[in-house]
Symmetry: C2
Subunit: 175 residues, 2 copies
């Protein structure tokens, strides 16, 4: 079956600092026309960082869900920044650690139905503490969590962040 | 450290059929004011459905990334629809199967930094084919994929959908 839509037009709805929103006109495989609401995002990285058998986990308030959640360190690409460079920068800024070894483990599209955000995921090991470099308006706690405890939190529904769960899935399926 | 922001105001930017966008004024833990661009979504479900040792995988075009990807069956909540009812409905509509057993395995926030979308994930087994019930404007192929093949696609970066990877993470950590 033909699956692909043809994008006919993109109309700007909103241009923000973090996201842009556009309304797209598309032609469906059956020739009919449809509208698509699309959120555009510059992309991000996430880092699954191991300090021996502990994972670095960030506790952070997230405005959209008005709640505090646990996530791997992560951050947005700065313009056309290289994603590996961004991963090293965000790890340092948020946790104070630099990684002597950092490997790409996969990428995710967070919400493919309406958003183009791609997060590239890395696995960092052989960590060295050099002190964090957080923005004065960035508020988070860093936890060094045994992997078994992280798995228990996944099992009991306490980890809901999609990049954290996806990173663990990539990690477990690569072993 | 105090992490929580206080939401002071929400201004409507865009009201669409799939998403709304608002600009929020918040007060940071240090008392400073900031703006937050937030995408509001009604929520969705995803279903990891097993037909013996095969997983039902949907091949689908996604406009935001202008590409065809592989995902578990999924769909948006219809208004205030119950998520379990939605899971059964979407499984039937997209794949033609009904599940005699369906269990909640966890929920994810897809992009906690700027979006409130929550996807509730289910594991369906004991499937029975009754014929699909797809909208005439819905184009997708259903594959019955051995779990080992799915893991190989995860390992090699061919599965990028965050709900699919998160569902596999929940499934593997519950066993």
């Amino acid at each position: 079956m033909e699956l692909r839509e043809k994008i006919l037009n993109k109309e700007d709805i909103f241009k923000g600092k973090i996201i842009d929103v556009k309304m797209l006109d598309v032609e469906l495989p059956n020739g009919k026309k449809a509208k698509r609401e699309v959120v555009y995002h510059n992309g991000a990285v996430g880092i699954l960082a191991f300090k021996e058998d502990k994972v670095l986990i960030v506790e952070q308030y997230r405005t959209p869900i008005d709640d505090i959640i646990l996530e791997i360190p992560a951050g947005k690409l700065d313009g056309d920044e290289d994603s590996l460079k961004c991963a090293n920068r965000e790890l340092r800024e948020e946790t104070g650690y630099i990684a002597n070894k950092i490997d790409y483990i996969g990428e995710i599209v967070t919400s493919a139905g309406f958003c183009n955000e791609i997060i590239k995921l890395y696995c960092a090991t052989d960590l060295e503490y050099v002190g964090d470099d957080r923005d004065e308006d960035e508020f988070l706690n860093v936890k060094e969590m045994p992997v078994d405890e992280l798995r228990e939190l996944i099992r009991t529904g306490k980890i809901i962040d999609s990049k954290t769960l996806s990173a663990m899935c990539f990690y477990d399926n690569r072993k």
